[in-house]
């Protein structure tokens, strides 16, 4: 088994001929929480989409647990043990909470993870038969995470989990992420909310216009001038 869970090597990608990523490399070790921070348009989501299989990289390699997954379509990536909570959550609004979770278990033989997920998010248990479209923003985010967990992933990707959610709820979500991580799920998250991300993650990469401009432990980055000036307004 490779020392890193996820290794991204020199990946370039873009949309319709316009480049968004220029030779990005990073790695995530098993059991870590790693954050990808940067301003809007820096390429963070693009990188996550490449890993999740929603976008095909132009060049470079992506390997999960030593096996190449770069270029695989999304429905096959999830079967390797990588689940993604997409930007904007993308729940099935016309299905109930329970049904959303069941769809998440599509790749599994059974829905055994359902109890674990409901234990992790008791709120969802209360709303089990409600339509996903009727939940609040924070509840939807929890459902989206729960849905991703149903496939029993070893790596969880999150794209802007705090977007559009009240700060109090954001804190709760991050607590949940920590709990999930303690159970052995490696986490890679993309965030504009740098404070929340660095409070939760052990390490982070800073992206700017499609390139990694800084990397290090959370503590190191909180001290760095770049991060302080650009994102923390200090």
């Amino acid at each position: 088994m490779a020392p890193e869970a996820l290794r991204v090597s020199d990946v370039s990608a873009g949309y319709g001929g316009l480049p968004a990523l220029h030779g990005v490399s990073l790695e995530v070790r098993p059991g870590e929480i790693v954050a990808l921070v940067g301003a809007n348009g820096a390429g963070k989501s693009t990188l996550l989409k490449c890993i999740a299989g929603l976008l095909k990289p132009w060049s470079g390699a992506i390997a999960f647990e030593g096996r190449g997954i770069g270029g695989l379509p999304a429905h096959r990536v999830v079967r390797t043990g990588v689940a993604c909570v997409p930007e904007g959550r993308r729940l099935f609004l016309r299905l109930s909470v329970r049904e959303n979770l069941m769809v998440g278990a599509y790749t599994q033989r059974d829905t055994g993870a359902l109890d674990e997920v409901l234990a992790l998010f008791p709120l969802l248990r209360e709303r089990e038969s409600q339509l996903a479209g009727t939940l609040s923003g924070g509840e939807q985010q929890m459902l989206a995470i729960g849905r991703a967990l149903m496939s029993r992933p070893r790596l969880l990707l999150l794209d802007e989990p705090s977007l559009g959610i009240a700060p109090r709820i954001v804190a709760r979500i991050y607590e949940n992420l920590a709990a999930i991580n303690r159970r052995g799920v490696t986490v890679l998250l993309v965030e504009q909310n740098v404070r929340a991300a660095l409070a939760c993650a052990a390490r982070a990469y800073v992206l700017q216009t499609g390139r990694v401009v800084q990397q290090g432990t959370a503590a190191e980055l909180l001290e760095s001038d770049l991060v302080r000036k650009a994102f923390l307004g200090i």
């Binding site: 929603l54 429905h75 096959r76 299905l95």
Partner: protein, 287 residues
């Protein structure tokens, strides 16, 4: 005999068959936003299948229904992979013309191969039976057809609402990207939708053949009604399409009895236009 009650019952029975045809059309549209302009021709092919099985092997169309369903399912899947898949990302013009061309081709081929003659299926287990219920006469074949339509639609509903595959179909219909993140292969779902939609119309065809004439243009008539039913109930909603079908059946029957048979379709299309004007996305539809 009460003409109103008779017209209502007759319309309801016909409407249930329309509903099944419309449900199949709506399923395909719901999952991938493509209208199958060849839906009527699928119906026609199924009816000819029943006819030929009956004429050459003596099979009762009702007994052969599973074969109709199976063969039409295969046809739907084949049409998806051979034709539809290639126009998924094409401009809308191409998508419309792909199925429209298929419909024209199938109908003309049927006319060329089997001549425009009207065929009838020989005796089935229920031909010639009539049931009198409270002053209303109902023909056996029509009753069985309606029953078969209800049963099939219930089976379809159960599949969509209660099974993992059905949920996957609904998920793909709503957001195929999110569905892919769950491990759902959109292509497989699309093919499945085409297969199921065609199977529905295949069963409807088998049922219809027990009391309706079989001829190359028979599909067009029903297809148009199916389109109207789906538009009425709302594109993308199987339940809506079902309700639309029943409504159309009843309106058509009432108009035929109380106005004039020649213009009953005017009422059907008239209702369609009214719905289009008032509520473009249909009674229950998504938009």
């Amino acid at each position: 005999m009460n003409p109103l009650a008779q017209a209502l019952v007759s319309g309801l029975l016909t409407g249930l068959v329309y509903a099944l045809i419309a449900a199949g059309l709506s399923l395909i549209f719901g999952v991938m936003e493509i209208v199958n302009f060849a839906h009527g021709e699928f119906l026609m092919l199924s009816m000819y299948l029943s006819f030929f099985l009956n004429a050459s092997l003596g099979w009762d169309p009702l007994a052969a229904l599973p074969l109709n369903a199976a063969l039409l399912f295969v046809l739907g899947v084949v049409v998806y992979y051979a034709l539809i898949r290639r126009v998924l990302r094409a401009p809308m013009l191409a998508q419309i013309f792909a199925t429209f061309g298929l419909g024209v081709f199938l109908q003309a081929a049927a006319q060329f191969l089997w001549k425009p003659d009207f065929r009838t299926v020989g005796a089935t287990v229920v031909s010639g039976t009539r049931i009198a219920m409270g002053g209303v006469f109902v023909s056996g074949p029509q009753l069985v057809a309606a029953g078969g339509a209800v049963a099939t639609t219930l089976a379809l509903w159960w599949l969509l609402a209660r099974t993992g595959t059905g949920r996957a179909l609904l998920a793909t219909a709503e957001d195929r990207t999110a569905a892919a993140l769950m491990g759902i292969n959109a292509n497989h779902m699309f093919a499945l939708a085409w297969g199921l939609g065609a199977a529905c119309v295949g069963i409807a065809g088998g049922l219809l053949s027990t009391f309706y004439y079989v001829f190359p243009q028979v599909g067009s008539q029903f297809a148009l009604i199916a389109f109207v039913a789906v538009a009425l109930g709302g594109f993308g909603s199987v339940v809506g399409a079902f309700a639309g079908g029943i409504l159309i059946g009843v309106v058509e029957s009432l108009a035929g009895v109380f106005v004039a048979p020649a213009v009953k379709n005017l009422f059907v299309f008239g209702i369609y236009l009214v719905v289009v004007l008032v509520r473009p996305r249909g009674l229950v539809g998504k938009q």
